[in-house]
Symmetry: C2
Subunit: 409 residues, 2 copies
């Protein structure tokens, strides 16, 4: 990676840029996943992270087979399995009545059909595994690097950070998340506020209250709210996510974690769900946003990936999975690039390969969330009957998302 | 049947009343069905009909196995099958896209499971068969008899008609339909306007336009509208029912058949559905009403049955079927009555036997109608997915309604 400190803008230094060099903006799960994939391919990769260290915040995260298949190809699945838990089943219950709505196998035939396991683990564990692997594979991971602009001239991308440093690369991957500053290069769109807020908690198992189920993912569906519970770190931790329609967030305000608002949102739910709110962290909450799908992620030699390209609501638990798919897709597409001039076609191919699929995931996640949160009798009845009609052998709702064929299109 | 013309009110003439006599108010399908069942049992039965003849208006009607099983036990099923059509399948389609949503077997395993056929026939044909059979069985069918009141004194019911005639009977069955005047004896409730209006048409098959399917019941589900099509009279007639939310009826007005309102209601539907509106009668329409379930149908020796007791929206096609179940249930319960004093217990037993079931049918019919008519994206998606998830071997939605066990409880 050619690093030129303080290069004045406009100076043509193309001769100093080594070919095949890739610069990644953003050191989250998507960024380090892409770095790992591309380093394994033999590319020279630099990752610029704004924060002072490569570290993820948050709680648990779900890795579906469409992502774990890729983690295995990168040689990190064993570590992921070691740090995570493979839940037996995904169980949905009505949060108001407690009634079980459906109970989906996540091992056995499911894992066999999709050729890879379903795993839940701590976000920071996944991130750490990917950072370590990317480093070992040769990625140059840099912190405190706050990118302010990317420009392409003569097939060279120039990346400027807030301290005046200018990096040059054949390709810049903008993987800087929901609030991506690089997205402004391709779209003037804004994030879309869902009105829903997530509270999370990943706490030691022996401190968690009312843990009935230590081996499954359990989802309670309530009116304008839901709760997800699963174990983490080989069952030594318990993860809880509570997501609800926040009156303050819906009004456009942002109110920091508000215990009263949280309690109120679950007041119609069974006591077990209400008590489980005590397993959440008290002082932090995550307002939930996504964006409308856009067609174009490319500006010159810059390409958006991950949440920067297609941020989604978390109802399908696919945010990180889709970022991993992106990394894998870009790895495959770029594998044949030997001449720097071929990058333009590679970026376009990635865009056309991935846009429809990720747009579908974005849209389906929204709809899935709506279906979870219905609060009027008829839609609730239809939703519950639909869930109860599901059978393990009916794979129509999962094949498009988890199936191996679904990704390579 | 003791008939006393011009008996002054208040005169005690109990001695003149023969025991075991039953008077039925209302000569529609429910009334003549009850008359048939009770005459077969050896009861003396008089039916009073307000109209100048025993005749049904309307178009087609569906007889599900819960009713055809009973028609068979009365010895009239062969005639019904001869006049009707046994559809092969019940097919639901999305009226806006034309997509098939589900396709339910109505013969084979279905008929076997429920021990009786599914038949569609003309209302007037079913009515005529029942009238003829009731007459043959000894029922006294009287027209132009407009009942104005029923009173019970000393275990004798006195029925007064508008011309001053007073009838006395051990039991009066009030089967005088949705707008039952006798219901006022047990409830001050009002009919509930659904806002939906039905247009019907039963026309010769060779005059019907765009008949693609002559052997099934086809239902198109649209936003705030639906359409049902099936053949009648051994396939020589074609029956169409269009039901939609009428703006004028929803405002509380009653507007006679309005072609413009009809066309507007189906304007989002596929051309095939819009053209099929031409198969409807032009000058008649039926605003649709039901009532809330009530607990008590008994006042002295008067008992409500059929629509007078539990009027329902037609979405389960169970109005006539439930009236036939009523007739059968009353027949069974009254079979053991030998002493007139036992009637009080028999009426109470009928009430307690039938109230929960018919209330469930009333409520489910409403919900079923709501599910058919959804007009917003998420409920429509859930409804369509639910319909598409249905399988013939899944009998959970029909067992409670059509199963033999369902009725005898």
């Amino acid at each position: 990676m050619a690093l030129v400190v303080g290069e004045p803008e406009g100076v043509n230094e193309d001769s100093g840029v080594a070919s095949q060099e890739i610069l990644i903006v953003g050191g989250g799960i998507g960024g380090v996943a892409a770095a790992l994939a591309l380093c394994r391919q033999g590319r020279k990769v630099t990752v610029l992270e704004r924060a002072p260290e490569f570290k993820e915040v948050g709680a648990g995260l779900q890795m579906a087979p469409n992502a774990t298949r890729i983690l295995r190809s990168w040689g990190v699945l064993d570590q992921v399995l070691e740090m995570g838990v493979q839940p037996k089943r995904l169980i949905f219950r009505d949060a108001v009545t407690g009634e079980q709505l459906t109970d989906a196998d996540l091992r056995g035939e499911f894992a066999e059909r999709y050729g890879a396991p379903y795993v839940v683990l701590h976000r920071s564990d996944l991130h750490a595994i990917l950072v370590e692997a990317a480093r070992k594979a040769g990625a140059d991971l840099r912190t405190n690097a706050d990118v302010v602009d990317v420009e392409t001239r003569d097939d060279v991308a120039r990346v400027r950070t807030s301290d005046g440093t200018v990096y040059r690369a054949d390709v810049v991957l903008g993987i800087d998340g929901l609030t991506s500053s690089l997205r402004r290069k391709v779209s003037g769109d804004e994030v879309v506020a869902s009105g829903y807020v997530a509270y999370r908690g990943a706490i030691p198992m022996d401190e968690a209250l009312d843990v009935d189920d230590r081996e499954n993912v359990v989802v309670y569906l309530g009116p304008e709210c839901h709760m997800v519970q699963y174990p983490l770190r080989a069952g030594t931790m318990f993860n809880t996510v509570a997501v609800f329609k926040s009156p303050s967030f819906s009004r456009g305000e942002f109110v920091p974690a508000d215990q009263q608002e949280l309690q109120n949102a679950y007041s119609d739910c069974i006591p077990q769900v209400q008590r489980a709110l005590l397993n959440l962290w008290k002082t932090v909450s995550w307002p939930m946003y996504d964006r409308e799908p856009i067609d174009n992620w490319v500006d010159g030699r810059m390409l958006l990936m991950g949440d920067a390209a297609h941020p989604m609501l978390q109802y399908l638990a696919q945010g990180a999975c889709q970022a991993i798919e992106d990394a894998d897709a870009f790895d495959r597409i770029s594998a044949s690039v030997t001449d720097p001039h071929e990058w333009n076609a590679a970026l376009a191919e990635f865009n056309s390969t991935r846009a429809d699929r990720t747009a579908r995931v974005q849209r389906t996640a929204r709809t899935w969330g709506e279906a979870w949160h219905v609060n009027t009798p008829l839609p609730k009845l239809l939703r519950n009957l639909l869930f109860k009609s599901r059978k393990d052998e009916d794979t129509r709702y999962t094949d498009w998302l988890y199936g191996a064929d679904s990704i390579s299109t």
